[in-house]
């Protein structure tokens, strides 16, 4: 009760505002980050189990053995069998080589099938989500199958020897995978109709899959039993595996969020520590008074602990609420990158937020207040009674310890904690070193300048410890912010402009040889021209130097899991450059050295290094069940900006002639001719159109959204920086008050003193802005080199705006905050120094 009363009165007196808001800020930053991370993580984990439509999947080319099913059943797992195969499907006179999938009715065990009752609808209101497959006698198909077969929904389709009714179209299939399917349209049928279709014959190529779902422990038990029985052609896909790529993204994202969060917490912690010190200094008189009235040290301790506890609790709760709002805004900003139905957060982020508030209290506020109960009551009689606060060193150690503890808890990783601490230390050093030099330089220059500048710069130098801490916070936050803004604007524009105005923006893939003339005519009829046709063969790399690639390598490289587009040409294509080895014409006696059946191979440099091959490596390719060998004779680099088809693997003319080929091309389609895509697809449904313009737009909007999200985070960090500044100014307020009072009794006008203050804060802001500009320029340099592969140019605008905005922001804030000091009558200040 008493504590609440005292707390309320102190709050009303304004002594607690900074402590409170610093604590709130720390909790806000952490809660927002934790909530976002938690929800995204949940979504990704959920999605990755959807990728399998199950918790685990076994793929095999033989029928699933009965004992596998029996065992799964006994082990409390749900199972679904599927069979995937390519099969001709017929409707009237039309046929199509479809990608058929026969499923038991429990499919999908995880995730949902999205269906529609009308082909080609894109509006969600027509969608219907179900967790079961088609009933016996019916099939669900891709929309594009209907024009291919010139049929309507409700009509019947022959799959092998069985006739099935097409009842719905498939919009989304959980385990379809993100990539474009180059092959037939999907036909989803019921498992019971499989036998009747007669498709399953000895020797027919069928891909069987067993879907499994259940409790984690049951699943683990089962897989442990199953794994030894799998042979080299069987493949077990566990959630971990399906998550491999996602996990990567997750780790990266989490790292950034934790880094941003901890930067915010560290700044808020510094602000809290400074504000608490100021508060404690203001409380010495009150404590001495209480003790002179006979309030015991124990009671004083209890009173202050209760007050700080309640303050921290209320602050943390408010921080949780604001943190929730911030995280909602973040979710909104990056909405397109996230699944539509983001799962709700669990309890952990709330706990993390609350604990952060309490830990900040323990780490930053309590050490500053610790000595209060032991203050001597004699202070009511004598001014010079010594105060023994916890030493600065001890407070620093306690603060650091708490930060390390929090980092360990947030990241659950010693390595990451160390990395972040190192990052923070490097940032601090990188700012403080040059900052110190600049301050020193400014002071020397100031000595020659007018008295306002001299005073202001001397002040900065005298309070250089404080100044440097502030510089670090502001410069770091501003550098991140500036980098983000530049990426979102300048860099994206540059990247767009690198593409020529009429560069091809559509790829046509999977054009069969017999369709070639027709498509050519259609293009000509629409006054469109392609860049020419590229023939290719689809095949995969099965052996490297006679060995199957290791599981690990396969895991990491899509190129080893998928079919590649293999092409051939005698001329080195435009935009290609041989980096190592020789182009075909430079090869002497290749056939004599390697034999007639071995092909020279030219491979793209990134692919080569990813799968670990060099000049002379021998690759075995498998195309349509046939295999042949090739030896790498050249390594090429590609220029993707030309937007003409590029191939990772090239052969000389003649080597791939015996394999079935398909064609691809790229073309420029002016925006007003966009409907052409539909015309083309309705006539040639098997052709795959990759709309590059959409891809580019999508990348742009993704980058924009991500940077917007990051900008919001950075603004929060900047807010923490402002709190540090206010706390530091408040702590130096007594000193400032006295200075200004002395200056005024010496005849300085209030105007002039205000000038000194503005120059002091403005110069500080300008320095921070300057350092931030350096940081941002450096970051942009790296980004341009690594990600956008653009030439480097200085960004003059950074060097202008950085110092200007810094000077304005800190100058205005600082002057607003200290104006009171200047305007106070000197007598009042000199007479009574406790503020």
């Amino acid at each position: 009760m008493m504590a609440w009363k005292l707390l309320w009165r102190s709050w009303r007196g304004g002594q607690l505002a900074l402590i409170f808001w610093s604590l709130v800020m720390a909790v806000v930053v952490v809660t927002a980050v934790a909530l976002l991370a938690d929800r995204v993580e949940k979504a990704l984990v959920k999605e990755s189990s959807h990728l399998l439509a199950a918790d685990a999947q076994v793929r095999t080319s033989r029928a699933i053995p009965d004992d596998w099913l029996q065992r799964a059943d006994d082990g409390g797992l749900k199972t679904v069998q599927m069979a995937l195969f390519a099969s001709m499907v017929y409707s009237g006179d039309n046929n199509h080589l479809a990608a058929v999938k026969a499923v038991q009715s429990g499919y999908p065990l995880r995730g949902l099938l999205t269906l529609a009752e009308r082909p080609f609808v894109t509006t969600p209101e027509f969608f219907e989500s179900v967790n079961h497959g088609p009933p016996a006698g019916e099939v669900w198909v891709d929309s594009r199958l209907l024009p291919i077969l010139k049929m309507e929904l409700g009509e019947s389709l022959d799959v092998g020897e069985v006739t099935l009714r097409v009842s719905k179209v498939i919009v989304e299939e959980p385990d379809r995978g993100g990539s474009f399917s180059l092959f037939g349209a999907r036909v989803l049928m019921n498992w019971q109709d499989l036998a009747a279709s007669g498709v399953v014959q000895p020797g027919s190529r069928i891909d069987y899959r067993l879907l499994l779902a259940g409790e984690d422990s049951d699943l683990a038990n089962y897989l442990a039993w199953l794994e030894p029985q799998l042979n080299s052609h069987d493949r077990l896909l566990s959630p971990d595996e399906a998550q491999a790529g996602i996990a990567d993204t997750l780790v990266q994202g989490r790292r950034f969020l934790i880094l941003a969060g901890s930067l915010g917490v560290v700044l808020a912690g510094i602000a809290l520590a400074l504000a608490s010190r100021h508060y404690a200094a203001g409380q010495t008189a009150a404590v001495a008074l209480l003790k002179s009235w006979g309030v015991s040290a124990r009671r004083v301790r209890l009173l202050y602990w209760q007050q700080t506890f309640w303050l921290a609790l209320v602050g943390s709760l408010l921080g949780l609420a604001i943190g929730w709002l911030v995280h909602e805004s973040l979710v909104f900003l990056v909405r397109e990158l996230l699944p539509v139905n983001l799962p709700q957060a669990g309890w952990r982020p709330w706990l993390v937020g609350l604990a952060t508030g309490m830990l900040c209290l323990v780490g930053f506020a309590l050490p500053a207040l610790w000595h209060l109960p032991s203050l001597s009551p004699l202070a009511v009689l004598r001014r010079d009674v010594p105060v023994h606060p916890v030493s600065a060193m001890k407070r620093l150690v306690i603060g650091l310890l708490v930060i390390v503890l929090m980092l360990l808890w947030y990241s659950q990783s010693v390595a990451l904690t160390l990395a972040i601490l190192a990052g923070l230390a490097v940032t601090a050093l990188a700012v403080m070193g040059p900052g110190w030099l600049l301050l020193n330089l400014a002071r020397r220059l100031g000595n020659r300048a007018g008295s306002v500048w001299r005073l202001a710069l001397a002040n900065l130098w005298r309070r250089r410890g404080q100044t440097l801490v502030l510089l670090t916070g502001f410069a770091a936050a501003m550098a991140i912010l500036m980098t983000l803004v530049m990426v979102r604007t300048t860099l994206m524009e540059q990247w767009r402009w690198q593409l020529a105005e009429d560069a091809p923006n559509h790829f046509l893939v999977n054009v069969a040889p017999h369709e070639l003339d027709g498509v050519e005519h259609l293009l000509a009829d629409n006054q469109l021209s392609s860049v020419g046709w590229y023939a290719m063969v689809r095949g995969r790399i099965t052996l490297i130097d006679g060995q199957p690639p290791s599981d690990e390598l396969v895991e990491q490289n899509n190129a080893l899991r998928r079919e590649l587009n293999l092409s051939w040409t005698d001329q080195l294509p435009e935009g290609n450059r041989v980096e190592e080895g020789l182009w075909w014409e430079g090869l002497d006696n290749f056939a004599e050295r390697h034999g007639e059946n071995v092909a020279p191979v030219s491979i793209e440099e990134d692919l080569a290094s990813e799968i670990g091959v060099t000049l002379g490596s021998r690759l075995t390719f498998s195309v349509g069940g046939l295999t042949f060998d090739g030896v790498i004779t050249s390594i090429r680099s590609l220029n993707w900006d030309t937007m003409t088809p590029n191939f990772y693997v090239l052969f000389p003319d003649g080597y791939l002639e015996k394999y079935p080929r398909i064609f691809m091309t790229s073309l420029y389609l002016p925006p007003e001719q966009k409907p052409f895509v539909n015309t083309l697809l309705s006539q040639y449904p098997t052709v795959l159109v990759i709309e590059l313009d959409m891809v580019i737009e999508r990348i742009r909007s993704m980058v924009t959204q991500v940077t917007h999200g990051l900008e919001l985070m950075t603004l929060l960090i900047l807010g923490c920086g402002v709190l540090v500044m206010l706390a530091a100014v408040k702590l130096s307020m007594a000193e400032r008050l006295q200075e200004s009072a002395i200056l005024r009794t010496l005849g300085s006008t209030a105007q002039r003193i205000l000038m000194v203050q503005s120059v002091e804060f403005g110069a500080q802001g300008a320095l921070a802005g300057l350092l931030a500009a350096v940081g941002a320029e450096l970051a942009l340099f790296l980004l341009q080199r690594r990600m956008f592969e653009a030439p480097f140019g200085l960004h003059v605008e950074l060097w202008l705006w950085g110092p200007l905005i810094g000077a304005l922001l800190i100058g205005v804030l600082g002057v607003l905050y200290t104006r009171r000091a200047v305007n106070r009558p000197p007598l009042q200040v000199l007479g009574n120094l406790d503020i």
Partner: protein, 229 residues
């Protein structure tokens, strides 16, 4: 009420041991008003602090109401202060974030007085600040602030009031009214008063006056008859 025997206070400074009080013997009777006078630096405040149990002597004994407070722990002395003692200080020591009323009621609230606010109002009335209940110290003049401090000191009904130059920060006229108020309240409440002062007029209003010089008690005389109160 208060009895001091052979009080000595020494402090160690960089220049060696400094003796601030030297063999002080003093008794203050119940209801008595005692003035401690002496030049600046003679040890008046130090003596007051020791008598009030805020500080401990290097040697000697202080008894308050018969209890040896020098033998007590700090907690024990705190309890003693809570039971017997009130203070008025030269620099008022009002808490800036509390209103006049809250400043007066705070010590009462701390000891769990259910009628804290009522009592505080009563005392503020008695020092003539009825209209200033909700004003903050910075909105009050020095004299008004010291009146609030007087109200605060008397509101907890101490047996002994210690005052260290209560008018030291005030001009003569204001000081006079504060003094009048102090003695009036002291008389009405029957408090024992120990007062440190520079001013002869103020000292002369006490029953008794002791003089300190260089830490030694050099004079102990009854005030002129007729003047007390």
């Amino acid at each position: 009420m208060i009895e001091a025997n052979q009080l000595t206070k020494e402090v160690t400074t960089s220049e060696g041991v400094l003796r601030i009080l030297d063999d002080i013997n003093l008794t203050v009777a119940d209801g008595e008003a005692l003035a401690i006078v002496g030049p600046s630096g003679s040890g008046k405040s130090t003596l007051l602090g020791i008598l009030a149990g805020l500080d401990t002597p290097s040697a000697g004994v202080v008894r308050v109401n018969g209890e040896d407070i020098t033998a007590m722990t700090e907690e024990g002395r705190a309890a003693m202060r809570a039971r017997y003692v009130g203070f008025v200080f030269q620099s008022f020591h009002l808490l800036p974030s509390l209103t006049a009323l809250e400043n007066v009621s705070l010590p009462l609230e701390l000891r769990g007085d259910a009628n804290a606010t009522e009592t505080a109002r009563g005392y503020l009335d008695r020092v003539g600040l009825t209209a200033r209940f909700s004003h903050y110290p910075r909105q009050l003049s020095g004299g008004e602030q010291q009146r609030v401090a007087l109200a605060r000191a008397f509101a907890s009904r101490p047996k002994i009031l210690f005052a260290d130059e209560p008018t030291g920060n005030l001009d003569t006229v204001t000081g006079k009214t504060i003094n009048d108020l102090l003695f009036q309240l002291n008389r009405e409440e029957g408090t024992t008063l120990v007062l440190v002062t520079h001013e002869a007029t103020l000292a002369s209003r006490c029953h008794r006056r002791v003089t300190l010089r260089g830490g030694l008690l050099v004079g102990d005389e009854a005030a002129l008859p007729g003047t007390p109160g």
